[in-house]
């Protein structure tokens, strides 16, 4: 097996890229995608450690995270569609009213 440190490096790299995407992009859809990247980084860590200690429980948590990602994507994309219908934009900094 590749040393566990490399998996952590990969995971941190994906996490950092995801954070950059979430903080800097204006497009809400790409922000959501960056969140998926972050969740994915977590999954890599969980599965790598599950392999290291020889227990599948880490994979169980990864499955829960994927479930969570599905729920988050469904609600997030629903919000985006609703917002786009009302404001004709998907840019995060133009979502500046609390009610319409």
């Amino acid at each position: 097996m590749v040393p566990i440190g490399h998996y952590i490096f990969l995971s941190v790299a994906l996490l950092a890229i995801g954070i950059v995407g979430v903080v800097t992009r204006r497009n809400v859809i790409i922000i959501l995608m960056s969140i998926e990247l972050i969740l994915n980084a977590v999954n890599i860590n969980l599965v790598a450690f599950s392999r290291l200690v020889g227990s599948v429980e880490g994979q169980i948590f990864a499955i829960f995270i994927i479930t969570d990602a599905a729920a988050e994507a469904a609600v997030g994309l629903g919000i985006i569609i609703a917002f786009f219908r009302n404001r004709e934009t998907v840019l995060a900094d133009e979502m500046d009213i609390l009610k319409w």
Partner: protein, 168 residues
């Protein structure tokens, strides 16, 4: 040997496509590269003897969630957004934050590298048969979280329908 080649290949693929996800101007291209990154991660899972998680990643993430993403991207017409500024003014702060984060983790790894690089991995057989073991843990030890996850999905489904429907 083959193990390592596969890992480094997929790791490089994942990182490159992740960078492209956050830098592409066009959201569809971002989505394509996100699919690539997710599939590369799936390959890493396979390399880690997590066959079931590999296929869950492919079916659910790449085949399900990403189709949803692309569907929504095509539904919301992005031709206008394409010509606007794609990054906000915080990009410099964001780079610093993530660099600091990466440096912190790198430092942590460097400090504990003796254990991290020499820790012996458990034998691969301890994860086999993978699907049966995952099922056992999912439906015995973690059956309550499993049920809660199902309720979470129900809530998300209702929420998405309420959100996206024009008249409820």
């Amino acid at each position: 040997m083959l193990d390592q080649v596969v890992f480094y290949f997929f790791a490089a693929l994942a990182i490159v496509s992740a960078i492209l996800v956050v830098t592409r101007r066009n959201a569809v291209q971002s989505a394509i590269f996100l699919v690539t990154a997710l599939l590369a991660t799936a390959g890493i899972f396979l390399n880690l003897n997590a066959e079931f998680l590999f296929i869950v990643q492919v079916i659910l993430y790449a085949g399900g969630i990403m189709v949803l993403f692309i569907f929504v991207i095509m539904l919301v017409n992005l031709d206008v957004a394409l010509h606007q500024v794609q990054f906000n003014r915080q990009w410099f702060v964001a780079l610093i934050i993530s660099a600091v984060l990466a440096a912190q983790v790198a430092a942590a790894i460097a400090v504990s590298r003796r254990t991290l690089y020499t820790m012996p991995a458990a034998p691969a057989e301890s994860l086999q048969p993978n699907t049966e073991r995952v099922a056992f843990y999912l439906f015995h030890t973690y059956v309550l979280p499993f049920e809660i996850a199902s309720i979470l999905l129900l809530v998300a489904m209702v929420g998405a329908v309420v959100m996206a429907k024009k008249r409820v």
